[in-house]
């Protein structure tokens, strides 16, 4: 498939692409990757980017080239896709799915595969599967550092007990402690994000210290989210970070102040297909199947429907008030606050939409159209199969 893309004889321009299409601005992407790699270096931690955002081996390779150490994934299908593409060190940062232990063991034969454990049931099943197959599986202990979604409570005696059992289990290599402070996505200011990041760090380092003092060796402490990384001041005691969204950012991150408009690397190119006389909207060919139904920022004042429209086909500036105001499965309804903003749109016009949530939007497409300005320079497949 890769070869076929390379053989395409002609470069095209954004204005010539079929729609809907997923555009990836290569210059912005490379800037984002370099900036996060530099930040991790400055903070003295390894970077293990979350590939759930892009699902794309080409981008994973750019991240490794920029200094990342291994990658993170959210599903076993992503892990397999990256292993197939030659990635040999992958963390599956999701509570172990007991129904898929056979596949876990098969992957652990091929690559350094690191899974996530946060219950005695998962530890027992993993240990038994590893010993049965004679292969060693790496495992992180997932810790709840305040998100309260999954992970052990680091203050509870049971957490210490589970860590000890993980460290002692035959067939399992205990990698250390892993957490995701997902509440950083709901923080409303840089100060709040910095506070989330510091609480995440402090909880992890304190727990690691208790474990070490009780004789359990903690090889690694893994934290991270894009919003927390945007504001964190110290990562003392942490060994690696796992942000993902920073490769692309999106409208949610822009609205929250995590990034600037020209840091957003992924947009959806769409066509106006209907503009009826008197209608206060135009219809575009980007609905839920292109943008996802992610509602965007928590704060209603910051919401721009299902994604704001960008000005022109090359820029990064938002139109004053034009956005995808509503959608159905394949239809997007683009409206403006003033009638004249809609009035100038005609059937056949192309628009660029900044998605609310780039990770979910990417998951709706089979490939990126890689662009520099208005020029299409490449196509990269998205491994979205599950």
């Amino acid at each position: 498939m890769r070869r076929q893309f390379r053989l395409m004889p002609h470069r095209r321009f954004v204005g010539d692409l079929p729609t809907p299409a997923l555009l990836l601005d290569r210059d912005v992407l490379e800037r984002n990757l370099a900036a996060m790699a530099a930040k991790a270096r400055a903070l003295g931690v390894a970077l293990r980017p979350h590939a759930k955002t892009h699902k794309c081996p080409e981008i994973g390779r750019l991240q490794l080239a920029a200094g990342a150490r291994g990658i993170t994934v959210a599903t076993l299908a992503e892990a397999a896709a990256f292993a197939d593409a030659g990635f040999d060190d992958v963390t599956w940062a999701f509570p172990l799915v007991l129904a898929r232990l056979e596949e876990v063991v098969a992957l652990a034969r091929r690559i350094t595969f690191r899974v996530t454990v946060e219950s005695a049931a998962a530890l027992e099943a993993l240990g038994a599967a590893a010993r049965r197959s004679g292969v060693e599986v790496h495992a992180w202990l997932e810790v709840d550092s305040g998100h309260h979604r999954s992970g052990v409570d680091p203050e509870a005696p049971a957490a210490l007990d589970l860590a000890r059992r993980l460290a002692e289990a035959r067939g399992v290599v205990f990698d250390g402690l892993l957490t995701h402070a997902g509440q950083s996505y709901h923080a409303r200011s840089r100060e709040e994000r910095a506070a989330v990041a510091e609480r995440e760090r402090a909880a992890m380092v304190a727990f690691a210290g208790r474990l070490e003092r009780s004789g359990v060796r903690v090889r690694g402490v893994s934290v991270g989210s894009t919003p927390a990384m945007s504001a964190v001041r110290s990562l003392e005691g942490v060994t690696e970070v796992r942000p993902g969204n920073y490769a692309f950012y999106d409208y949610m991150q822009l609205a929250a102040g995590v990034c600037a408009g020209d840091d957003c690397a992924v947009t959806v190119l769409t066509s106006v297909v209907s503009h009826q006389a008197g209608a206060d909207h135009v219809v575009v060919d980007a609905g839920a199947l292109a943008l996802s139904k992610d509602p965007g920022p928590d704060d209603p004042a910051l919401r721009r429907g299902f994604g704001p429209v960008l000005r022109g086909l090359a820029g990064h500036e938002l139109e004053r008030a034009l956005a995808v105001r509503g959608m159905s499965q394949e239809h997007g309804m683009v409206g403006g606050e003033r009638a004249e903003e809609v009035a100038r749109l005609a059937v056949g016009d192309r628009l660029r939409i900044l998605p609310n949530h780039s990770c979910l939007t990417v998951a709706m497409f089979d490939e990126y159209q890689v662009v520099r300005g208005e020029e299409v320079v490449d196509r990269w497949p998205i491994r979205r199969t599950r």
Copy 2:
């Protein structure tokens, strides 16, 4: 790919499947297909099912076998996928995308391909492309029968003018009038749905009459949605209907009273992956990437988060109050109204979730696990590529 599935040597049970998986109950599907085919026959109209719901040639063939005349799709990729699978009469019920005329003409060479026009710009571009290529393309005129999303206003003089130009355009075969009364999805009772259906019918038949009286021959009148079809009493003057969701139904249709619980054919099988002490929820491996972020019924009183949990692995009955209460990209948070409903769930348990919106959920998967009761009898690929 098909062959590979057929060669799978062993049947399995739902309780043995890897998760997340998309389950399709074949008995329920066949009953739904037969019931809608019988209803269309009784109403004296042809049935052209909307394949956007299932994206699956196997199901399209079952629909044709049950008496359907051709199929409907929502994207050009769906049209191409069904043409590749041998379907020779396909309507693309979406306003023509001018950026894709080359592909339209290529498809029209291979099959009877019917597109949708609702603007002078689209008519001109289509006619020019057809004449340039020497191929005839069929076209419906899309009419707005009250949904106010796209389509010409049938009361406006411009609509009559566009119909006449469509009927006279060289290279274009005018198939007649097409509409989708999508407002039927927001009707709150059978009476409201019946009223929507009757207004849809009346508007279309009146416009067709005006066209005929002014000398424009109207070959067909195409209407339809699943909610409207559930309540419609007469389709006099209509020639075909295009419901889609009826193949599967979903929680939205159930909550609206369009179907019963045991009419719902598609569910998501998921595993409990986390149940921390003291948590008011468990985490399952079905989040936005499995269920979509469709928020469900308009009416807040009817909402059940991102989908209710079914009782047991074979049944169709909803658990009293257990549902996916929240989600992130790969995580679903299942909670109940009473603590004991959550307390009995353990890591490794499998649950079946009834999706809010089956069409969007199906679009997240690569294949159906076709089941009869708890037995897995087949796997059918989903052509979700765009």
